[in-house]
Symmetry: C2
């Protein structure tokens, strides 16, 4: 099969790789209908995170079940399925508490690599959710978004305790930040402030339900959020970048007693304890337990209640993955969908 | 009147100070029935926090209302009252959300100094809660504890989402940590693990409801908590110290999706963002909004349901405050009660 491999920073090659096989009786093999490039793929692509030898890439996926292991009970060949970037048994105490991304048996799908024609998905019963019927082609991007960026933005909104009557600020205008805007709106927020200085992303944020746009960053961005909230700060702030500046912007934009939900993969961040203490906000975040939200998100997409697939503004054949990475790296594209 | 003043690290003098007077129509003057020395008073006493000129000390207090300003409506002369270390209006949006310690009009009672015979309490209607009747003398220590250490331990437990079925670990065996044990038990925790290596404090922790004692600290302490929780970590961890070691011990002792409630005043702490991200815990804490809990705590003390006054293991006349500080600094006493 064909699959994308990162050899060194900036060096993505799509090449022939061995077809995956069932390794454990709880595995399934899926044929990818679509996959994509994640903002977090850019960390190793840019050389900020280490590249550990030639690495298969990709952890977002939707596709059709081709083959199932002997112990698989809940999905069957021919079904269209959506899964998350962490395989989970969905039965352990941590999964049952809603933290499937930290399942005691969690396996990284990223290590397997889904920017490929086929992929082995471990712990299939606990990881995959089938759509009610095979989706029409125009719903595939939305379902693919559910696999990570929508699920991650949704978790950010849940972690930030978004709800009716709340004013929500979103730090970060990548795919996750934009879909956090959508999530905040779906979860009933009264006011959703997107923090973005890029006109096309502002437009998408508005389409997803942003009521206000703030273009300022850092202390000026914080001051603008305070102005919009009678000096108090937002009830809920979703952080979708992962840098020191974005985390502090999130903490400082939140009112005392308010909630920061952080889903940007943290790079080089050190949170000052004393400031955090006196800020008196709630902090929660991490790798999104997307599996928790998949049934609901699939239903919202399949009923066309939401259209998160709009975040894909570039679609390429898998063999052109390298251009997909480049376009995102140069911010020419918000998110690249790849067709195997 | 007599009052304690800190001149320099280690130098506490009880001296004649001017009697307080009503400065704003929302003030009251109370005659202190009891006051005490706080663990946080030791930071400037030890020279770790700056001493800013001769500073009146003390922010914990119970007493009898002597005089009220013209706008005071809810307390009257002769009533026995308990208040918190932040005066609050209890009507602003932040107070109504339960964060009176961050009231938009918050005033620090510590700047006024309650280790004295009399004190002016600002924003009296929003700050003070009267007992149903003047309490018998043996309840005074418990009510004084409610003013800060009990309220702070309670907030730690609430911030850590303690509840039925939960396993709770408490990092820190000072008065706040010990009363966090009591709070966890009252809030229905199934198992409460006190982390302490001091035998008399272990004993008090047991009296307050600890089911387990862990004497190890740091990584070994974390390993013991993991052992007690089938490798997962505690559901709720209350941090009541404020150092880098204690914060990391708290974060690492918490299971994914679990809650850290931190109430130790933070000194020199920097939280590593990446570890926090992948730990996937909830963090909440800060200066306790004691006022939120006072009505409930006063009732629990007055009905003799709890006896938080046991944390006072040294009682001295106000004029001997210096010895009270020394005894706590040298860990000869858990907490010193002062009788003006």
């Amino acid at each position: 099969m064909r699959g994308a491999v990162l050899y060194a920073p900036g060096e993505i090659h799509v090449e022939d790789r061995p077809d995956p096989t069932i390794e454990h009786p709880t595995d399934v093999i899926i044929r990818l209908a679509a996959t994509c490039v994640c903002g977090s793929d850019l960390w190793p692509y840019r050389g900020i995170a280490a590249v550990d030898g030639p690495a298969p890439m990709g952890h977002e996926y939707v596709g059709v079940v081709e083959e199932i292991g002997d112990d698989v009970r809940t999905v069957r060949p021919g079904q269209f399925v959506v899964g998350s970037f962490f395989a989970s048994d969905n039965t352990c105490e941590i999964c049952r508490a809603g933290y499937q991304s930290r399942c005691v048996r969690a396996e990284s799908v990223g290590a397997i690599g889904t920017q490929a024609q086929y992929a082995r998905i471990p712990l299939a019963d606990g990881t995959l959710v089938a759509t009610p019927e095979p989706p029409p082609d125009d719903l595939v991007p939305g379902l693919l978004a559910a696999s990570d960026v929508l699920g991650t933005g949704w978790f950010g909104a849940v972690a930030a305790e978004v709800g009716p009557g709340r004013t929500v600020a979103v730090v970060g205008d990548g795919a996750v930040g934009l879909l956090a805007v959508l999530a905040a709106r779906q979860l009933g927020a009264e006011r959703v402030v997107a923090m973005s200085r890029h006109e096309p992303r502002q437009k998408l944020a508005r389409e997803f339900g942003a009521t206000d746009i703030v273009t300022e960053r850092g202390d000026e961005g914080v001051a603008r959020i305070k102005e919009l909230t009678r000096g108090l700060g937002a009830h809920s702030v979703i952080e979708a970048v992962g840098t020191q500046e974005s985390m502090m912007q999130a903490v400082r934009s939140t009112r005392p007693g308010g909630h920061v939900g952080y889903v940007g993969v943290s790079h080089g961040v050190a949170l000052p304890g004393q400031e955090l203490f006196f800020a008196e906000v709630h902090l929660h975040g991490g790798p999104a337990p997307v599996r928790r939200f998949l049934p609901e998100l699939i239903e919202l997409v399949c009923t066309r209640t939401i259209d998160p697939g709009k975040v894909f503004d570039l679609e390429l054949p898998l063999d052109e993955a390298a251009e997909g990475y480049r376009a995102m790296d140069e911010r020419r594209a918000v998110k690249t969908l790849l067709r195997p």
